[in-house]
């Protein structure tokens, strides 16, 4: 920036647009750049995940649900199962998991001090690894 004219251009570029024609230095800094550009063929670009995502195809969704529901009803009828029995059966894995956790806790309480320290050491190590993995930012769309 050498002259007052340069400063006036910086303060109001639109009002002093003619300055670019006079000053080579300002033209180099603020003038139109002629970068080589390639025309973009938009349809050839990869499909973004959000394109068409908000569309709701209810016939497909309802058909899928009705088919699954009908198959479940027919199978329950053949097996002679009531809905309550189905719910009970589906919770069996949760009950076995709960039994495993409580049995393990009881065994831990009864275990020696060394075993308890080793268990809590493993607990801290696993959670430290989990903490380290959770610190990584998701890749998702940047991949």
């Amino acid at each position: 920036m050498k002259t007052d004219s340069c400063l006036r251009y910086l303060e109001d570029p639109d009002a002093n647009a003619g300055h670019l024609a006079e000053c080579e230095e300002c033209r180099a800094l603020f003038g139109d750049t002629e970068l080589p550009t390639k025309p973009i063929d938009v349809p050839q670009l990869p499909l973004a995940t959000w394109e068409g995502a908000s569309h709701r195809s209810w016939p497909l969704v309802l058909a899928g649900f009705v088919v699954a529901l009908a198959a479940a009803a027919v199978l329950c009828l053949i097996a002679g199962m009531t809905p309550l029995r189905v719910v009970e059966s589906s919770f069996r894995s949760v009950q076995s998991m709960r039994a495993f956790v409580f049995t393990s806790a009881a065994a831990l309480r009864a275990a020696s001090m060394g075993a308890q320290i080793a268990f809590f050491g493993a607990f801290i190590v696993v959670n430290a690894v989990l903490f380290a993995l959770l610190r990584r930012s998701p890749r998702g769309i940047d991949a």
Binding site: L47, V61, F65, A68, V101
Partner: protein, 217 residues
Amino acid sequence: MLRLFVPLTIVGATLVTGMIAAPSEPFSGTMEIRSITLQQAASMVQQTAVVVSLIAVWILAAIALTLMSGREVRASSTEVRASALHCFTLGLVAVTSFVLTAIVFSYLVPFLIGIPLLFALAVFAVITKIYGMIAVFHAVGTLVAGARTRNQLDSRKWLRGDLAMSVLGVLILGALRLIPVAGPIVWGLASVFGIGSALATKFGRREPWFLRVAQAF
């Protein structure tokens, strides 16, 4: 080809189920063996009924969650496909952590503080599992039947959108779930991937779980 994939998967799952469920020993004609075979068959039908009922419930959950927060489900689904290994590792470590933490909280139950902690952990684990599974359903649906080009997307009337991809994913994984032995393994792996993707994206919000010290002040 993709239109054929879903029916072929269902037919394949049915055939494999039938082949494995069929009695392997020849019928000897005695009453005792016949009754055992019938019991096994009844048990197989009951198990299948429970699995199919659960698939129907999963479809309902997928519809509800995709309608409520489709963008988040899509973000987690993208994460499963973009960095599958990370999601799997994170899922495995998270499941191990859940189990170990549950044992530690159960250890604390006599001190009373363990009960609310255990309840909070159970709620968090269940939410993570449900959300993660639905993200995996979306990922599977998109991998199998997602549009690859804009022309393909424009030409589709029904097979497009988050809702359709989630439901399609439930149906595909549900069909695989019906295969004895392999089905529960596939479903379990999907759970691990799902829990990993849910935690990796903070339930689709794509925010860091922990603030750095410099950001906090």
